[in-house]
């Protein structure tokens, strides 16, 4: 085992050194801990913490209220569980997190818990470096009760194609629209649009005097999934077809997807849509150069910060298309790595339960703008003031029951980049069908390679 780890680590080091590695995150590597998921073994003592244990948690809550809220959650958990210490390692973004988790696993130093998107979890599971949640000590007897308390969309998001629950939820969000209420009024729009057709018309009418209706980030390999690419997925679903089938097969050349992309291209041609990077819609909105920003509900505090009180924000649900108003659920899940000791896995299960419980979910949501993953949190005292100040949360949170999510297959990461590339190509002048054909071909190739 040791020699394999050394060899693998050397391999990654080799690639990193030979190539230009100015990339974010630590080194890369290879090697690993090939631990098969232990079978759940219920017993009277299952899950008991017998001595001091430290668990590590790799996450991306590196700034603002996210950072302080996570530190507060850990502090409260440790106070309630004095034998357990939680060591946080924070990364700037999900790209850096994936690199770091991969490197850590390869070096045989995996964290106990890490954040992971569905496609990452699939790769981790097939590589046998994470364990099913039910196999955690103490989880077999308590998991189903906790699981059933989550919104149904959240529940199904935790499973991989083998039907097992490999992930656990913590923070979830849906996409919402943040309007500049003053510009909305100035454009003669009495209320936010409820259909995508009307949305397009309103954007065009408001795009004048240096204002561009909406600015989006189509995304790229550096950034990964962005709200711009998610918008395309939502538009396609609103047209009646999701961009992937449930088994992860791309449907990028479906007329519904083509129509969705054409809608965006038309907005760009009319001067109602611009592109940028690094949350460009938020910047434009704050600078009073954008009518609306499409973003995660978890971006609420960042939007407020950008606006800085210059005008009132109006937050609404996504408009509807011919097939309703599907919204894409965002937010990574939590996974437990196989290299953790039995005591660490038992402690990890306690921590997961704490993070997803009503009390912490209420506190986390009120502090960060994420939706709670369980409706039980809505009645917590710490949630009352937040809901009163942000009535849009109550009216939109039920979307977690029906939200669309990308299917949990490893190739979906590449397909997301392919779709982003198709978007940027079409918005830069390539024909919609040509751009989507290229993306379909590349994604299909990734799917066949597994």
């Amino acid at each position: 085992m040791r020699s394999r780890q050394l060899a693998a680590t050397a391999a990654a080091a080799a690639v990193t050194l030979l190539t230009v590695s100015a990339c974010a995150g630590g080194g890369s590597s290879s090697s690993s801990t090939t631990t098969t998921a232990p079978a759940a073994s219920p017993s009277a003592n299952a899950g008991a913490i017998t001595g001091p244990v430290t668990i590590s948690f790799d996450e991306v809550y590196d700034s603002g209220t996210l950072k302080t809220a996570m530190q507060s959650a850990v502090k409260n958990f440790e106070a309630a569980n004095p034998k357990i210490t939680v060591s946080l390692t924070t990364y700037a973004d999900y790209g850096a997190l994936l690199t770091a988790e991969t490197a850590a696993v390869a070096a045989g130093k995996a964290p106990t818990i890490g954040q992971a998107y569905e496609s990452w979890a699939q790769k981790f599971a097939t590589s046998k470096v994470i364990v099913p949640i039910a196999s955690l000590p103490g989880a077999s007897s308590t998991m189903s009760t906790a699981l059933s308390s989550f919104y149904t969309g959240v529940q199904s998001d935790l499973k991989l194609p083998d039907g097992q629950v490999w992930m656990w939820p913590f923070d979830k969000s849906l996409q919402v629209l943040f309007y500049n209420a003053t510009l909305l009024k100035a454009a003669g729009i009495t209320s936010p649009p409820t259909t995508w057709t009307q949305f397009g018309t309103d954007l065009k009418s408001a795009s004048k005097n240096g204002v561009v209706g909406i600015t989006i980030d189509p995304g790229n390999a550096t950034e990964g999934a962005t709200s711009g690419e998610e918008w395309l997925e939502e538009l396609a679903a609103a047209n009646g077809t999701q961009v992937y089938t449930s088994n992860g097969t791309p449907q990028f050349t479906n007329p519904a997807v083509e129509s969705a992309l054409q809608y965006l291209v038309n907005l760009k041609k009319e001067g109602a849509l611009a592109t940028g990077t690094n949350y460009p819609g938020e910047t434009a909105l704050g600078a009073k150069k954008g009518l609306v920003d499409l973003s995660s509900s978890a971006g609420y505090y960042y939007e407020q910060q950008s606006v800085g009180g210059k005008f009132p924000l109006t937050t609404t649900l996504l408009p509807a298309g011919g097939s309703g108003a599907p919204d894409e659920m965002a937010g990574a899940n939590l996974v437990v790595f196989a290299a953790a000791s039995s005591q660490q896995q038992a402690a990890a299960w306690k921590f997961l339960q704490y993070l997803s419980g009503p009390v912490e979910q209420a506190a986390w949501s009120a502090a960060t703008g994420y939706y709670p993953v369980t409706s039980q949190a809505l009645t917590e005292p710490s949630m009352a003031t937040y809901l009163k100040q942000n009535p849009w949360v109550s009216s939109t949170i039920a979307g977690l029951n029906s939200a669309i999510v990308d299917p949990p297959y490893a190739w979906v990461t590449q397909c997301g980049i392919d779709l982003s590339t198709a978007m940027s190509a079409a918005l830069s002048g390539t024909s919609v069908s040509s751009a989507l054909n290229s993306a379909q071909s590349a994604c299909s190739s990734a799917q066949s390679n597994g």
Partner: protein
């Protein structure tokens, strides 16, 4: 005569590099080079023969030359497109970088207080961290709020999408890279200008040669070794450029700025196609080796 020759090169030192002491003195460098360059290079080639599972190498599948064959298949972004982008960037950096830095060096060689300040100003960008200045330039290039479009708009010129446009993204990255690298190249040319023989130029001027003739027939030929060096160093660094593509354009739009280095990053770090990324890295390595060998064969010695 015999004493004189012995005085120039003592016989005892002739084969010093092959003596035990020679090997001993070289050992630290050889060990470091082996551990961090030679060993990893060999291992990268090994990895390139596998469908490598970086998380669990025991699940890796041997592919032989499969990853190399994959290079020429139509993937998105394709290896061929990335190679073309790398050559586009490298060619532009060589031509524009060499020409502009040579012109700047000729302008700055005269000295004086103002010239000294100008030299410092031109070199300063090269002393700044590439990632930091890339972030700043991403805001300069912002189509809606950036300084670049503000200037164009103020001059009543058409604005540009800069790194957001398929046709303009690579030129925009080249402009930034030139801004960052010109100081270094100019200093090299300035160094070359200080050691060339002035007597030829004086003689040419006495014979009635104009400034252009003097430069073309006297000065530049003497700078040929330095020019070769500038071209080679620019070629190698341009082929390996990554940071500005990562930060400024993210390889886009529509893969217009996906170079070989960026492709290696995307395949290895984002998509975890480690074996394929290793194959691309090996090809990039071979291209660089080829250029270095050509340099060794063709570059005249710097006197």
């Amino acid at each position: 005569m015999k004493r004189g020759r012995r005085g120039l090169r003592p016989a005892g030192n002739r084969d010093f590099r092959r003596t035990k002491k020679g090997w001993l003195y070289s050992a630290p460098a050889i060990l470091i080079f082996s551990a961090f360059i030679i060993g990893p290079t060999i291992y990268t080639f090994y990895v390139s023969l596998w469908n490598w599972n970086v998380l669990n190498p025991s699940l890796s599948v041997f592919r032989g030359l499969g990853n190399y064959k994959e290079l020429f298949k139509a993937t998105d972004p394709s290896f061929v497109q990335s190679l073309e982008n790398s050559l586009y960037f490298t060619g532009a950096m060589i031509v524009a970088g060499t020409a502009i830095s040579l012109c700047l060096a000729l302008l700055l060689q005269r000295g004086g207080g103002l010239m000294g300040a100008s030299r410092l100003a031109i070199y300063l960008p090269n002393a700044t961290p590439l990632i930091a200045t890339s972030i700043i330039w991403s805001w300069i290039y912002n189509p809606q709020f950036g300084v670049a479009n503000w200037v164009l708009h103020s001059l009543h010129l058409p604005t540009s999408p800069w790194v957001e446009g398929q046709a303009t993204a690579m030129p925009a990255v080249i402009m930034f890279s030139l801004w960052h690298e010109l100081g270094f190249l100019t200093i090299i040319f300035l160094g070359g200008l200080t050691v060339i023989n002035d007597e030829y130029g004086e003689a040419a001027r006495v014979d009635g040669a104009g400034p252009w003739q003097e430069f073309w027939r006297i000065t530049w030929p003497q700078l040929r070794p330095v020019t070769y060096f500038v071209i080679i160093i620019t070629t190698i660094t341009s082929l390996q450029s990554f940071t500005q593509f990562y930060q400024l354009s993210g390889g886009g739009p529509n893969n217009a700025t996906t170079t070989l280095s960026y492709l290696i990053f995307e395949e290895s770090q984002v998509l975890q196609n480690t074996g394929y990324a290793a194959a691309v890295a090996i090809v990039l390595f071979l291209i660089t080796v080829f250029i270095t060998l050509v340099r060794r064969r063709t570059t005249p010695a710097i006197r």
